[in-house]
Symmetry: C2
């Protein structure tokens, strides 16, 4: 196997986006990550706040946002505009040549509107294609993609999309061109053996240990889709997946922090 360039695909959660100091610190660390890189960001609470100010009701079912048309406009404004462009402008001031994108831009991440079954999620997208070649060309011209959690359909719809899934799908698509290192950064130090002890970070997690911790109930609800994404990404060609605290990005890129998710 030939040596390939390492690409860091970094997902940053909404809780960090919502905290200006934490976000600023994270962006400084991200700007120092060597080599080609991609940032994928969550939404954060600003969309809910803007919706409330516009007297648009935020509908949640089973902890999931229902995206009706007024809410789609709000998330397009907040995720695709306010959050994304401020991240880009801050990264530019740090010397990182960021380019803010949704899945629609350059047609990089296409989805279909989620079919209505027991629940109508509204304008929510399930990813069907990532144009890794287009993203690779941007990276080759020196750009650092900063991707908001929105995709688009063939019909010209924008669709609200899970950022964790966008990160894993992007990392998989770029694995054709790079040795990809997918890092999920959030407000915990990694996957915890004991959800009540922030320092009980697992150094690594394999499918059998994951199954065991799920059975014990110590790996909790929000972490399960993240880990399912992580294992799927590894199966589909991603070189490495790490789950870490946003403050630990610099160490995690080097393999010295967070939980490393592995297949064996």
């Amino acid at each position: 196997m030939t040596m390939r360039t390492q690409l860091s695909v970094v997902k940053i959660g909404g809780n960090i986006i919502d905290n200006p100091e934490a976000c600023s610190r994270f962006l400084q660390d991200f700007s120092k990550v060597k080599g080609p890189k991609i940032l994928i960001h969550g939404g954060g609470k600003v969309a809910t706040q803007v919706a409330a100010s516009l007297q648009i009701e935020t509908k949640m079912v089973d902890g999931r946002r229902i995206t009706d048309k007024p809410m789609l406009d709000v998330v397009t404004m907040v995720y695709g505009g306010l959050v994304n462009k401020n991240l880009v402008a801050q990264l530019q001031s740090l010397g990182t040549n960021a380019i803010g994108l949704t899945g629609a831009d350059g047609g990089i991440i296409r989805s279909v509107k989620r079919p209505v079954k027991s629940l109508d999620y509204g304008f929510v997208g399930d990813i069907v294609a990532v144009d890794g070649k287009q993203i690779e060309q941007m990276i080759a011209s020196g750009l650092v993609p900063v991707i908001a959690p929105l995709t688009y359909s063939n019909e010209g719809l924008l669709l609200n999309t899970n950022a964790d899934t966008m990160a894993s799908a992007t990392a998989v698509a770029l694995s054709t061109y790079f040795d990809t290192n997918l890092l999920y950064c959030f407000e915990k130090k990694g996957v915890l053996a004991d959800p009540d002890d922030d320092d009980s970070v697992l150094e690594s997690l394999t499918p059998p240990t994951y199954t065991a911790y799920k059975a014990k109930g110590s790996i909790n609800k929000g972490m399960i889709p993240k880990l399912d994404n992580a294992f799927a990404a590894l199966t589909d060609g991603v070189g490495k997946v790490t789950i870490c605290h946003a403050n630990d990005l610099a160490q995690a890129v080097l393999g010295n922090a967070g939980t490393v998710v592995t297949l064996d």
Copy 2:
């Protein structure tokens, strides 16, 4: 002089953006324009409406918007998010590989915050640099830039910026690589000899005729900065400038509609 590829740089005004039918028709025509192209869009009234819904006061002095911090956030949401990403998604559905950008994205259009003199415009940018090479690389990889009226400063500020000026500065910067054709599309058929007669379109306009129509008062306030931009663009290397109705884009690209602005 060698033959160079023609690049169409098309500015679309806010009045067209605000009208879904007119905008949809325009996008269909724009998607059919042959060869490399760039779309630069104005803001439209949605920002004012969103600001009003958020109970943010829109401050105007001499017909110009004063961009305080709450209003900067609104225009970032509306111009950079809602308007820009919906244009991109619609163009993608028409088979045009659009990529939505502000000046901050890829560092393509940098500005300085306008110095406070008799009036403090707030977070408004005066353009200092356009990275034509970066835009040319995007075009070379098959992308169609769709640019929102926002730029950025070295300090990481986003800045509200006049879309007409962004269009002319972009056309000038790209003239190093292309034979540029700058088209200002709006809700009139061109420059009018008589502002009360929509059919009194001037076929062409030169500096002496411009001076004469200004002296007569038949070229009005809003048209003057647009024409000043047009003449400056020609002086700085743009091949051709046309001012036309948004419905006439297809004909204007071929030189068969609107007012052609020329130096002699």
